[in-house]
């Protein structure tokens, strides 16, 4: 088995931090952890962004999304096992529960802008509330035209 390349290692560090409920490491932090120049860490992040393995903030070029996790606060978050995670959207909130195999959790939709606040619960690994729909603002083949909006 070959050892993971630099891009794989950086992607894994980002996902590991977010899965722990922490913020994604910055390029500078990744460089220090992996013992590489900051420029090399930034180049890796840009390649991962281009490959849609994660999404960088348009201005700072630091990690904005590593789906299903969000590195910034959003309307959606998941609480469970004494930790919490930001999700990019309603779908990703459910996906965080699945990815982390949370047996008991709360999925909080803060609502806002005219939408009601809701809290969904997961008990014994199963979603309790099933009444509701999740909207897709554009067809699936256009999701990546603006994945932050989607």
């Amino acid at each position: 088995m070959t050892s993971p390349g630099p891009d794989q290692r950086i992607r894994h560090h980002v996902y590991s931090a977010l899965a722990r409920g922490a913020h994604a490491p910055t390029a500078a932090s990744l460089a220090a952890t992996l013992g590489v120049p900051v420029g090399a860490a930034r180049d890796s992040l840009e390649r991962l962004h281009a490959a849609r393995a994660l999404v960088l903030d348009a201005r700072t070029r630091e990690v904005r999304m590593a789906s299903p996790f969000s590195n910034i606060s959003t309307a959606y978050r998941v609480e469970g096992q004494g930790s919490s995670w930001n999700a990019n959207c309603a779908w990703d909130a459910l996906a965080i529960v699945r990815l982390l195999h949370l047996q008991d959790a709360r999925i909080i939709d803060d609502g806002g802008h005219g939408r009601e606040r809701r809290v969904l619960t997961v008990v014994d690994g199963d979603l309790v509330e099933r009444d509701g729909v999740i909207s897709s603002p554009r067809p699936a083949w256009r999701w990546w035209e603006d994945i932050v909006f989607t």
Partner: protein, 75 residues
């Protein structure tokens, strides 16, 4: 992607803007979520081909042009 009580509630919310392209039920989303991000936490993870994700959508009952990951006119 936002959560609403119903398609009607979503329509009312979006009435001032662009209409939603599609909806999935919470039940469908829960099923879809089970495998969509499978393997993402593994260091060796490699992005799966589009066909893999299209099959997951289909297995959740999400079919038709609105759920096509490839532009319908190119299929």
């Amino acid at each position: 992607m936002l959560l609403f009580r119903s398609e009607e509630a979503a329509g009312a919310w979006a009435s001032a803007g662009e209409p939603m392209a599609a909806f999935m039920t919470l039940d469908q989303c829960w099923r879809l979520s089970r495998n969509w991000y499978e393997g993402r936490l593994d260091v060796e993870y490699e992005r799966r081909p589009v066909d893999h994700f299209q099959a997951l959508l289909g297995a959740a009952g999400l079919t038709g042009d609105a759920w096509s990951l490839s532009p319908p006119h190119l299929k």
